[in-house]
Symmetry: C2
Subunit: 258 residues, 2 copies
């Protein structure tokens, strides 16, 4: 198989109807095998509010109780996933929507309770690539929402960046795999207020320095941890930036290397 | 390929957690290729009520406006479909959830406005079997919710009985196909209040008589129309009854013949 691209998109694309349509149009033109992973955007929070389901937090982390898992399953696997699949079909890109339960592709375990009970949150333990390989060989694009399962009938909420990195790692056993994290910035920034300050390359050594100097902090840390996890487990290329990086070779972005 | 079974389940199974778990356990033991089609049950109505979205009716028929389509997509393709898929996996039945947009499997057209505008309701115009054939050949069970697409990016609400019959008709071009409508009664009843009055066989001729004598009426008419549509378009066997008919050869049910 040719080089496979695993591409993750987040709220800045999903929450904006026009941005999503524009992205899907371009995504459909990408040649070769590809997998799309989408986060949830703001729609789940909006629905929870409409249904008067309170957002439960514990020490600053969101808890996925039964009602929240239902909302996430409805919004991520239902509304967002099927909207994306229908639009891909309209652009002649044959796609099938997936959760980790579909095709038994991503098995996770409910996060053990230590100090905090995160509820129905799953940490990935295994990726099964057989079904994905069959589809990719038949020019079908899997579109993943960030829901996995425990193989005992329980769906679990899983971080979308993690779903993308684990899929890329799993699929790198069958072909060369590249991982692209699309988000609202041009890449990892030296100065968070300056879009021109893209750090074009980060390796294990410079990552340590950037963390120590508080240049990389908060929400970027788990994203970069996912990047290094992938690049250290056979994924050939890992990039972070605006989705332009996929379509315009001159578009600045951050590349992660060992 | 061996004989394929297309099995449709409705609210009496979907709305009852224990009944669904029991059905899925048995369904998983069915040998040979199989496709599951599920309706929506009461959950969509419940969610609409929680969100204060009014049920819109016109001359006694439900209208699918944008808000209702969103709810249906969330509940059918999200919550119900993924719950079923996760439970199938737990029973070692490898399954993938489908709407008609996934794999471009079911293309429909928005119902034209004559006297009533039904909104985002789709009438099936084409079933593509290539992707389904690949999955069935690889022992993967497609699980369909009753949502289709117009191939131009629009999802459409489609009757679940129709989805089942159109899938059975489409798939009968690649293998012997049987269609089973599971519902809350033992079959078509001579006397609607007597579960023992199952009419074991209905053919085109006797259907006319049963309609003329008002023995078959109201909600059973579209279901039986779907049955005859299927049996007249190469589906080998069409049955209506409780899901027991799939697992117990002595279980009474109605068989439709030409």
């Amino acid at each position: 198989m040719k080089t496979l691209k695993v591409i993750k998109i987040g709220g800045n694309i999903i929450d904006n109807e026009e941005a999503l349509a524009a992205f899907i149009k371009k995504f459909s033109t990408i040649e070769g095998p590809k997998v799309l992973v989408h986060g949830g955007g703001k729609l789940a929070t909006k629905l929870a509010s409409q249904m008067n389901i309170p957002v439960q937090m514990n020490e600053g982390r969101r808890i996925t109780d039964v009602a929240t898992l239902d909302i996430i399953t409805m919004v991520y696997a239902g509304k967002i996933n099927k909207t994306i699949v229908a639009q891909l079909q309209a652009n002649d890109c044959n796609a099938i929507g997936f959760s980790g339960a579909d095709g038994n592709t991503i098995i996770s375990e409910k996060r053990p309770i230590k100090t905090i009970d995160y509820g129905f949150v799953g940490d990935v333990i295994k990726v099964n690539t057989e079904t994905l390989q069959i589809l990719l060989n038949n020019h079908i694009t899997p579109v993943f929402c960030a829901i996995t399962h425990d193989a005992n009938g329980q769906l679990l909420n899983t971080n979308a960046d993690t779903v993308a990195s684990e899929l890329a790692i799993g699929l790198s056993s069958i072909c060369n795999t590249e991982l692209y994290y699309c988000f609202e910035k041009n890449g990892v920034l030296e100065d968070v207020d300056n879009e021109d300050s893209v750090i074009e390359n980060i390796n294990t050594e410079s990552y340590k320095t950037l963390k120590n100097n508080n240049i990389i902090f908060e929400g970027m840390l788990p994203k970069l941890d996912n990047c290094f996890h992938a690049i250290n487990k056979n994924v050939q290329k890992v990039c972070i930036g605006k989705s332009d990086m996929l379509f315009n070779t001159n578009s600045k972005h951050t590349t992660i290397t060992q």
